[in-house]
């Protein structure tokens, strides 16, 4: 009874507080920055997300389409006045914009027939919680000139926008904005640039390339190693860059995936979550093994790439999920993707936190 009363009181007082300080988005933002400053912002542990509900929602064909492609990561500020009901209109506007960019100087009309086609579609289920906005996909397709082949569109460029476990970002964004902080692009960079320009002009947002630092790469390595698979397609491979001038030197280190899994199992203690200590210990084991054989301190070098049977990531912000369709059936795709994108989103939050500190 006592505990019930106290919680009740707490809720009431916090509401009262909201009322008095008038919780505007800016104040909420400040509040969350304060919260983050007073508590250490690294999660010393990360929960392995449960995604049973999401598996049901997502469209296997579309998800399969996202496999085996190399995606370049960008972080994105919230989109102003973006609406999921206008996707068709956006598609025609964007295709006109692309056509105009391609034939600089010549006027084009919206709705005119171009030799390219743009589609916008939602990716159902690609999100972490119910509050996260739906992910959406943008594609540029080439239209064949011959009418007989009209049905076969070749995909020239693909990009998608998502928000996975973006709770702390969402609470600071006001109603007019849609928060999809992660943008992934596959295709020619000129197309990425044109699409980026259109989004920046239309939704007043800003794209910036997202690098994955060695700290987060080791997290990904540990989490992907932890995934149990029936059949491993490739070795677990690490690439370190030795900082020596004038030429840089790379060290590649490949391990049998089952050995890597065994090592992880010996390090991993708490089921359902991964802690910073476990990740550090996992990497330290690899370092000391290498040092024993080659007398080189890998800990003095920089981890630039991690690739496993599950996925691979490069420090310059390129990732690829290498599961094939058959293993996808037994292994939920989103499970891995969540791990990966969760880290990216966390990274964006942290970058914002840094920016706030600088202000």
């Amino acid at each position: 009874m006592d505990s019930y009363e106290s919680t009740h009181q707490h809720i009431a007082s916090s509401r009262l507080k909201d009322y008095f300080i008038g919780a505007t988005p800016l104040q909420k933002r400040l509040e969350s920055v304060r919260k983050q400053t007073s508590f250490v912002p690294t999660p010393p542990r990360r929960k392995i997300p449960q995604c049973s509900q999401l598996q049901e929602d997502n469209d296997p064909q579309k998800v399969a389409f996202l496999l085996h492609k190399q995606w370049t990561l960008y972080s994105l500020t919230p989109l102003y006045k973006f609406s999921y009901t206008n996707l068709k209109e956006y598609a025609s506007l964007l295709s006109a914009f692309i056509a105009a960019e391609k034939q600089k100087g010549l006027a084009v009309e919206v709705g005119e027939d171009f030799n390219i086609k743009v589609t916008f579609s939602t990716l159902l289920g690609m999100k972490g919680t119910q509050r996260d906005p739906e992910a959406f996909l943008v594609q540029i397709l080439s239209k064949s000139q011959l009418p007989s082949e009209n049905r076969e569109h070749k995909v020239l460029w693909t990009g998608w926008f998502c928000c996975i476990f973006g709770d702390s970002l969402l609470e600071t964004v006001s109603e007019d904005f849609t928060c999809v902080p992660l943008f992934l692009a596959n295709g020619a960079e000129t197309n990425t640039a044109i699409v980026g320009t259109w989004f920046q002009k239309t939704f007043d947002c800003y794209f910036s390339p997202l690098a994955i630092n060695a700290f987060n790469l080791s997290w990904m390595a540990a989490m992907w190693t932890a995934c149990k698979m029936d059949q491993y397609m490739a070795a677990t491979e690490f690439l370190w860059s030795v900082p020596c001038s004038p030429q840089s030197l790379d060290i590649s280190y490949a391990i049998h995936p089952e050995d890597a899994k065994a090592l992880w199992d010996s390090v991993h203690k708490t089921p359902g979550e991964v802690t910073q200590e476990e990740v550090d210990l996992f990497m330290d084991c690899l370092y000391s093994h290498f040092h024993r054989h080659f007398k080189i301190h890998l800990s003095a070098t920089r981890l630039v790439r991690v690739s496993t049977s599950v996925a691979s990531a490069h420090t310059d912000g390129k990732i690829k999920v290498s599961l094939n369709k058959s293993s996808y059936v037994i292994f939920p795709y989103c499970y891995i993707v969540f791990k990966m994108y969760g880290i990216c989103i966390f990274h964006i939050e942290e970058a914002q936190w840094n920016a706030n500190l600088r202000q």
Binding site: V40, A211, N213, F215, S218, H297, S299, T301, R302
Partner: protein, 180 residues
């Protein structure tokens, strides 16, 4: 002399000695040069070491301030500093030890999280400064700050002691370690 103690030697006349510990030899050398360029009434002595303990057969002056330099791009430099810290007497941590974390500007190159060094500095109750030693202008600023700190730690600034400075450096942004 495996453990460094702050007061086991007589101070030299008008001499202030700093010990810089870190794996980045070239950058430490440049930092030392920048410190020597600073205008300072005391006679500066700068010792560089990759790690502690220092060899015992060398005659060296009393050390007034130890700065541990961590390169955020290299886990090895952190491990090295953690190992070296064990060879420092507890009384040194009454204001005569500091941490420099370099490389935070290039976030994409970081192997060590910022909070790891913050925790380390809090554990040892010592101040932590983030810096960029690769840019000359930034290096000069760090050098200036270190020279000033060193003068205080050597007792060359009337009215301020090392311990005094330590308590002044603890701002509201760096909560006391008990609060973490």
């Amino acid at each position: 002399m495996s453990v460094l103690r702050p007061l086991d030697k007589q101070p030299g006349l008008n001499t202030a000695t700093i010990l810089l510990v870190g794996t980045e030899d070239a950058l430490l050398q440049q930092l030392a040069d920048a410190m020597l360029k600073e205008d300072c009434a005391s006679e500066l002595k700068i010792h560089l070491a990759r790690s502690l303990p220092l060899p015992s057969d060398v005659n060296r002056p009393r050390i007034d301030l130890i700065m541990f330099v961590v390169n955020l791009h290299s886990k090895y430099s952190l491990q090295n500093v953690e190992e070296s810290l064990r060879h420092v007497d507890a009384t040194f941590f009454l204001g005569k030890v500091g941490f420099l974390a370099m490389g935070a500007g290039q976030e994409s190159h970081c192997s060590i999280h910022r909070n790891t060094v913050t925790k380390l500095a809090n554990t040892y109750r010592s101040p932590l400064f983030f810096c960029d030693l690769e840019r000359e202008g930034f290096r000069a600023t760090v050098a200036q700050r270190l020279v000033r700190m060193l003068q205080i730690c050597a007792g060359h600034v009337p009215g301020v002691s090392a311990l005094n400075l330590l308590s002044l450096l603890r701002s509201s942004e760096n909560p006391a370690p008990e609060d973490l």
